[in-house]
Symmetry: D3
Subunit: 243 residues, 6 copies
Amino acid sequence: MKIRLINPNTTWSMTDKMGVCARAVAAPGTIIHAVSPAIGPVSIESHYDDALAVPGLLDEIRTGEAEGFDAYVIACFGDPGLYAARELAAGPVIGIAEAAMHAASLIGTGFSVVTTLGRTCGQAWDLADRYGMRRFCRNVRACELPVLALEDPASDARRIIIDECRRALTEDHSDVLVLGCAGMTDLCEEISQATGAPVVDGVAAAIKMAEMLVALGLKTSKRGDFATPPRKPYLGDLARFGG
Amino acid sequence: MKIRLINPNTTWSMTDKMGVCARAVAAPGTIIHAVSPAIGPVSIESHYDDALAVPGLLDEIRTGEAEGFDAYVIACFGDPGLYAARELAAGPVIGIAEAAMHAASLIGTGFSVVTTLGRTCGQAWDLADRYGMRRFCRNVRACELPVLALEDPASDARRIIIDECRRALTEDHSDVLVLGCAGMTDLCEEISQATGAPVVDGVAAAIKMAEMLVALGLKTSKRGDFATPPRKPYLGDLARFGG
Amino acid sequence: MKIRLINPNTTWSMTDKMGVCARAVAAPGTIIHAVSPAIGPVSIESHYDDALAVPGLLDEIRTGEAEGFDAYVIACFGDPGLYAARELAAGPVIGIAEAAMHAASLIGTGFSVVTTLGRTCGQAWDLADRYGMRRFCRNVRACELPVLALEDPASDARRIIIDECRRALTEDHSDVLVLGCAGMTDLCEEISQATGAPVVDGVAAAIKMAEMLVALGLKTSKRGDFATPPRKPYLGDLARFGG
Amino acid sequence: MKIRLINPNTTWSMTDKMGVCARAVAAPGTIIHAVSPAIGPVSIESHYDDALAVPGLLDEIRTGEAEGFDAYVIACFGDPGLYAARELAAGPVIGIAEAAMHAASLIGTGFSVVTTLGRTCGQAWDLADRYGMRRFCRNVRACELPVLALEDPASDARRIIIDECRRALTEDHSDVLVLGCAGMTDLCEEISQATGAPVVDGVAAAIKMAEMLVALGLKTSKRGDFATPPRKPYLGDLARFGG
Amino acid sequence: MKIRLINPNTTWSMTDKMGVCARAVAAPGTIIHAVSPAIGPVSIESHYDDALAVPGLLDEIRTGEAEGFDAYVIACFGDPGLYAARELAAGPVIGIAEAAMHAASLIGTGFSVVTTLGRTCGQAWDLADRYGMRRFCRNVRACELPVLALEDPASDARRIIIDECRRALTEDHSDVLVLGCAGMTDLCEEISQATGAPVVDGVAAAIKMAEMLVALGLKTSKRGDFATPPRKPYLGDLARFGG
Amino acid sequence: MKIRLINPNTTWSMTDKMGVCARAVAAPGTIIHAVSPAIGPVSIESHYDDALAVPGLLDEIRTGEAEGFDAYVIACFGDPGLYAARELAAGPVIGIAEAAMHAASLIGTGFSVVTTLGRTCGQAWDLADRYGMRRFCRNVRACELPVLALEDPASDARRIIIDECRRALTEDHSDVLVLGCAGMTDLCEEISQATGAPVVDGVAAAIKMAEMLVALGLKTSKRGDFATPPRKPYLGDLARFGG
């Protein structure tokens, strides 16, 4: 089974880190191909970045289709372009916020999301609504760390995140923690040990959910809104997306 | 007051038609500048088209900011890129689905949306959720007409849409109709006369809502999620969006 | 265009103040007629006052209809008698809570209502439900000021309200403020400058929404619950309401 | 125990009929005083009638307080003035829609309301929302009968209502029926026998709920929104409501 | 009228206490038979206890049916086995959480539940959802007292519960209190006097609701999910439940 | 990895069938142990059966814990005893309705559940609420087949189910089908081929979700409601459940 793990930002150090974490949980026989698009933002910290990460993401889906990938993971906690990607791909596409929230709802009564910037909290709430997970989502908390601080070993990010996770458990009455940024994937084990609570990393969860759907022979239904998009002309430097 | 009316697809006949309708309702002193992006799809009929219309749309917002526009209208019923546009613009940005649903809720107990393709109905329901309008939205109905059929005088579109509107009133127990595509903007008066019900065209409604917010001195709040996005590098042919 | 701005309480100093604010935002050519009923409470601070303000309000609607008004604004944050008024009037009728909440939802991610007495907060929440605005309403906060203290220049009302608005922004994570009493209409600009956040005054917003609907040719639908009420005998000193 | 059963319309034949039905279910020792206001509409078939029934209703509450009543029932399915009445009365106040919906939720999985005019269905849905009963309310169905047709022995009302009740059970998958008009109170037994389903009459249910609350020593809480309204001047022919 | 009050745990001191409280509110002519099952847990403090209390509870329902009881009350705040009991019994079955929440919603704008252990709070929230009472339930608060501490006169339970009730009123903005454990039934009057707020005891409320339904001739509908369960073989020491 | 697949009814032909289907999707290295309890009903077709299946189910969980199982699947579409089982087990416990609904929400916009008896539809809706899946659940449809008819090769069950699935796709506008009974597990492939839509079998989905959680090192959180239940005496023939 071949899964394309797409980090929709263009920072390859983060992509590589996710690849390592993904392979650590993948089943024997699953090949993880971790990629970043050739175009787009170096990090995703706004609706603006989120929207502009999508063309590069869709390039990667199209390449994946040409290369016969079985499933895709979109590895940014805003799940950018998820529905467009589902239209384009034959196999299943999973977002990491989607995977993390679903997994968290299976092992506890309520979770807190701990993320980077406060300005993205509203989007996490919106995704909880979209996936039906609002009743399990007790809070979305920001550490006010820029995404790329997670890539900087000299930053204080580790400690700040763990402190916020501890507050989440006591103040929100949550019994599960959800990591709100793909860049936190390597902290999962450490936070779990520090807090004693189950911690869900969306990258790992999404890989396993993608494996699950492929193993079950379940693909995105093409009977409804996620049918292959009608082909049509596209103008300008997006012309390659038409046909 | 200068309002930039952005048709996010690249079909200028539709853009021009919207401009005419917008000017017909605009206040004296309001200048309507109707534009299409230089890049992107000729029509928006999928999540894929919707996502790929956003870069061109954001180009138009940026140009508008440079030229001192007071407000923006996004004239596609999926309201693509609305939140990203709000981050980028100083003045208010209104989507036509948003405007139409809000206006419809002020004049009746429940509305039906009549749109083009069935595959976009799910998105209209999602927008009703997002705007809090689910309790007023009694149904979303598709005519199974491609968007560009609305631009073809030889098509049977007019009759098909009016028939669907009649069914909406009797079968959905709705008392207001909402046109579910920017390309229907010129049919508003005709449908209202044919059915005897109030018909809300989102293009006209959004123009008036934009005027309203400007007149009230209300701009998108920059205190929360819609703050100006942090500047950062963008790679490839999207580099112009970074800075 | 003639808009009848009805302050449903009988305190004309408040009515006059609202008229001034309304005219300040009205379009050229809009005539604002600000009135109070001849009967009813001097202020509205309970469900009891709210209910008993309605007969006088409906008198004003009927007079307005006879005099050819195009639209009506009900200028009390409980929106008393809104649905009954919609049945009676040919043109649109807008409540100020309704207008303020809708406008606030267009320019931010969540608003706080700041109102006078704690005992009216439940009603504001109920209206947020009714209009579909619950998902945008982050809090309703009371200053514990009687309504008529707003008319008393010697009171400390101004400072108390601004303090509560500041707390709303920091404690509720709101990015927009909504004034929860028609009597605060003249404080809008001052609060906005003091807090740096957009502040929505329902009186001004409702005037512009009424103008919008008239400009769009949209009237309350008479196909459903808001059809003209059936005529019938009324007994006692309400006999003038029958026919 | 003394319960004041207030029919908020001024048609005493209906009031007397309700009194008979109420006494048939009341406990030994409960005195039912069935009254209509001196002022207001002869029937309630619109938001307009509903609003204008409230002053007369509040007169009856005030008289009841002076005469030492223990509890009140508002016997119109729109539950007009319920919250205002709760502010005014020391003892509990129950609306018949409220009582009927609560009782129905205790004996089945979902109910249908069968009411008179289609134009009042929206209000029944709104009340289901207000009381938390939306998840039990499967449908609200109208017979398109004027309220006073229920008082006319020559009308076909009986048969029409029973037919609609039968359709409710088969088409709505409901297992309980709720009578949507106080004027249907005397049909309860007959409909139950004709359909074989439990039928809830709000008048009877409200009497028993009022008895229950009095027996439990439970009165409307005066700590919150339902505290006694502040006294203040009222102008014109409503002056008696001030103080 | 004969009502079987079933304490689903096997601690008879608690059962007897409930019987005393129930008889204190029952109507003349109502016979209260308070029982505990022969099998099952001595207290119910987990989903595990809750589930394992149900066989004994159903034994008591079956015995009650053989002895001609008119109605049943399930006297544990988790309302264990309520739907199964409704299938089995001819007459109505009421849970004490259900009764308490409904009654509380009739006399205030929002209630707080004060219960024993924090680990049962989630279940109280779930029941509020199930009964449609979420919009009235402002908080569920735990005293962290084991259920059987309520039976120990030497414990500090009384004071701890009253303190938590006081906090509920001030911190949750509730105007009604709901006792979250059947074992608190004898504290109702004392808490009400200490706090000045209405306090709803589910045992008393359920007895009165059961009386109400019997008086109205309303039984659980057998048309839907609560029809008598199909008979079938049961294996092992549960064989007596088959037939 | 050892997963205990518990069919909570006592019909071993069904248990064996589920075991075959489970092993067909399990990963290499996963050992599936399919069992039925020694006590309880031969099929689960009511809340009564559902409740009485739980003691036997909990026996199987306890045995599983003693034997070192890593995870558990509860293979009845009512997910009986799920929360009690979570308290008891160290590893994750998944219900098949839960697994099926979550999986279906990942591959389409809306699903229909096709189940056996109409009297169980309400429970499926309740579970959709509990898991947050209401927004994806477009309908729950019954074939009015007894559960054990699925075990009878001579019955017409196959054809009836496929017909109902076809109607679900066209009438409910669903794009995914969910099998609403564990006994349908062997029909999954056939229905998918007959209808052309993705079909989710909860038994298979739950096995993969259990594998996923074990692979991710995620266990039920013991910080909240699902903590190990407090030990205490149990009376009568349930004494083995105490300790």
